[in-house]
């Protein structure tokens, strides 16, 4: 299994920065980490969204018509939720990475996590980037990464987009094998939490246990 350097006592968050839900998740988790004084590492997870309906064998015309209508309803709902997430980020429009920019920013996330950058700092970096109203190409991403972590300059000089893309795909596949289904997700002590809504439960799990002798 690929070594992600996951410390079991930290919370790990898996994100896809192309998606508003992941960026809202980073913002929420950063606030939670600060309030709870909890270490959170933010890592990339880049996989096609799971579409279980597409794997259902074809049925009668009525069955197929229902599937099509439900699929349309689901897509319409996703659009509503995307708009709400943009509102949570105080943005009017979604951002767009170029292919190379997307690879670089997720490569950068791995470096930031390996350097144990806090979720608060990662959140500031990501929110600054997606609200910049620029096309997020490699130049733009590189400048933002260097601003948040100047020490990355030397690593970035040797940046190989194809190799980085392959590495990100391999990491995401390894995470899938560990039970991650989609981004955003979280992991704590090898347990997977899909979405960011589990933070209240994580609060309970991460709370220091009362020593037995003091009960």
């Amino acid at each position: 299994m690929l070594d992600y350097g996951f410390a079991s006592l930290s919370v790990h968050m898996l994100v896809d920065l192309n998606e508003p839900e992941s960026v809202v998740g980073i913002k929420a988790v950063a606030e939670w980490a600060r309030d709870q004084d909890q270490a959170v590492r933010v890592w990339p997870f880049l996989r096609e969204p799971i579409n279980t309906a597409a794997e259902v064998p074809k049925g009668t015309p009525d069955f197929e018509a229902y599937k099509a209508r439900r699929g349309l309803a689901r897509r319409r709902y996703k659009d509503q939720e995307r708009r709400r997430n943009l509102q949570r980020l105080s943005l009017n429009n979604t951002w767009k990475f170029t292919d190379a920019g997307a690879t670089l920013v997720h490569w950068g996330l791995v470096r930031l996590a390996e350097h144990e950058m806090s979720a608060t700092a990662v959140s500031a970096f990501v929110l600054g980037l997606v609200s910049s109203n620029k096309v997020l190409d490699t130049g733009c991403v590189q400048a933002a990464l260097l601003e948040v972590m100047p020490v990355l300059a030397s690593e970035m000089r040797g940046f190989d987009e194809a190799a980085a893309k392959a590495d990100l795909a391999e990491r995401s596949l390894a995470l899938s094998d560990q039970g991650i289904l989609s981004a955003p997700s979280m992991m704590y002590q090898a347990e997977v939490f899909s979405g960011i809504a589990h933070l209240p439960r994580l609060t309970a799990l991460c709370r220091p246990q009362t020593p037995l002798g003091s009960r």
Partner: protein
């Protein structure tokens, strides 16, 4: 959104008794009704689970006897039940995975009936809680019209006429409602409807309250309520 008695509701909530997500949400939604003062219009959305997660049937010992599910569909189903069970236990409820995909439409029709005939909100809540709790303990056959008839009666709701209703006008209302909800963009449960806006999942409860109260201040993040134990 109106019900059959043409009452106007600000908040409608769609549920399906066979959904584990609806099961772990219903008590929270009742709490929302009490704390917010908004009366909830409960509506059945009868899911065709086989159309998006494949079908499966198990024996009493848990062995799968019939299934067309792919490994990916199984992993999604297992993760959903693992998560729902955890939250159900946190509420002190028992969640035993069903052995087949149930046709919950009669239970949905019973929900429409209960809402229209319950003398008090307490009676409606008692009916829903009873059916939910017993179904998830594998002790309530929600395809059996007689069992639902008794459940209505046990909750103190008039049951006379229910069987005829379920086989006639109730079935028609239910089927029309399914069509309307799909058109409106409701595809899963629990879903919350405020005017034309849909919120899918109990993680949106805070946002629903925020919206009902006039959308003042920043929109809340999503979260699943977790009771301190």
């Amino acid at each position: 959104m109106t019900n059959e008695q043409d009452e106007v509701f600000v908040l409608s909530v769609c549920i399906d008794f066979k959904s584990p997500y609806a099961f772990v949400a219903h008590e929270l939604i009742w709490q929302l009704e009490v704390s917010s003062g908004y009366t909830v219009n409960w509506m059945p959305l009868t899911l065709n689970i086989g159309s998006f997660l494949g079908r499966a049937e198990k024996r009493n010992d848990g062995k799968v006897v019939d299934s067309n599910r792919t490994p990916k569909q199984w992993s999604v189903v297992k993760a959903a039940y693992r998560e729902a069970r955890c939250y159900a236990e946190n509420q002190g409820r028992v969640l035993r995975g069903p052995l087949k995909i149930w046709d919950s439409s009669i239970a949905g029709i019973a929900l429409i009936w209960a809402q229209n005939h319950a003398d008090t909100r307490g009676h409606l809540k008692d009916f829903m809680t009873d059916v939910f709790d017993r179904f998830w303990q594998r002790e309530c056959d929600i395809e059996d019209i007689d069992i639902l008839n008794i459940a209505l009666s046990n909750a103190g709701i008039q049951s006379e006429g229910f069987i005829d209703y379920a086989q006639g006008a109730g079935r028609e209302s239910h089927d029309i409602l399914q069509d309307q909800l799909l058109t409106q963009g409701v595809f899963g449960v629990p879903s919350f409807i405020i005017e034309d806006e849909v919120f899918f999942g109990r993680e949106h409860l805070d946002t629903v309250i925020w919206r009902l109260n006039g959308s003042q201040g920043p929109m809340p993040f999503v979260r699943y309520p977790w009771q301190a134990v």
